[in-house]
Amino acid sequence: MDRPLIIEKLTRIFRTVFNDEAIVLRDDLTANDVANWDSLTHMMMIGEVEKDFSVKFKLKELGKLEDVKSLIDLIESKVGGQRLL
């Protein structure tokens, strides 16, 4: 699985949803670190991730997302071996 590609796609999603072209993803990034990451944009971010990566998260999985690393890990576990482009 190509983790850099996941990060690249996820960066595009974050920059669009949170309306900030300067966002650089790092493992420990959380909602507290991003100005526009609120309850509304969180829903949109999850929706975009599910759409772009063609995945569907379980509620239990969403509840374990502590930071960007856990989101990348989760996406990676779902799209393992899947061709992204």
Partner: protein, 222 residues
């Protein structure tokens, strides 16, 4: 007051709590954000709210564990939700609620929300960690004026202090046109500490009002 039983909410209360959420969300209007922002009917919304309660995610306004219920002659007549924000290292309640909605409402609703979110963003208020957050306070009309509001408020604070003795304040976010509820909160020692207003007139099609107040009651000073 002896004829009333105040107790923690149980799973059997969930349909009633869905009604409490819907009535509280509408406030003094006929607009329900769960329907207007997510393009759902009120009937569908009630089913989805029930589903969200059934997930039993703690720490937000759609958590069964956040609610107390008043029974009169064996039937629920009031429901009140309150939780300590980010307690037990929980995520922010807004994120927990968003996870519930994302999971339950489905992608079409989230796509719809994307086209409307700019209208309501100015009245979103951050919740302060480790404060008691009061949300959804509803008493059936025929039981108003009987002292239930004071008893409920006291019980909510007692329960929270029993769980977290260092608790310093209670906060409540409320639309400015909810004049009756604001009056109750002021009577119970709350003060208005902030105001968040949207200049977008479209907001009246989606939310009960264009201005939200942050009200606060200090329980303990340092």
């Amino acid at each position: 007051m002896n004829e009333y039983l105040i107790r923690k909410a149980i799973a059997a209360d969930i349909p009633f709590l869905a009604d409490v959420v819907i009535a509280s969300e509408k406030g003094m209007s006929d607009r329900l954000s769960f329907t207007t922002l997510f393009n759902k009917s009120e009937e569908e919304t009630k089913k989805l709210i029930i589903q969200m309660f059934e997930e039993e995610i703690d720490g937000c306004e759609l958590s069964l564990s956040s609610f107390i219920v008043t029974e009169f002659e064996g039937k629920p007549v009031s429901g009140s939700g309150a939780w300590i924000e980010c307690f037990h290292e929980n995520m922010q309640s807004g994120i927990l609620k968003s996870n519930l909605i994302s999971y339950t409402f489905g992608k079409e609703s989230i796509e719809y929300l994307k086209t409307k979110s700019h209208i309501v963003k100015d009245v979103l208020i951050d919740r302060e960690p480790m404060t008691l957050q009061l949300e959804y306070f509803h008493i059936k009309d025929e039981h108003l004026g009987k002292g239930l509001d004071a008893a409920l408020m006291e019980r909510i604070e007692q329960n929270a202090l029993a769980e977290y003795p260092e608790l310093k304040k209670v906060q409540c976010q409320i639309f400015k046109n909810s004049v009756f509820s604001i009056k109750i909160l002021l009577r119970h020692g709350f003060k208005i500490v902030g105001s968040y207003k949207s200049g977008n007139e479209e907001i009246f099609d989606y939310l009960p009002y264009n201005e939200k107040l942050l009200m606060e009651k200090i329980l303990k000073t340092d």
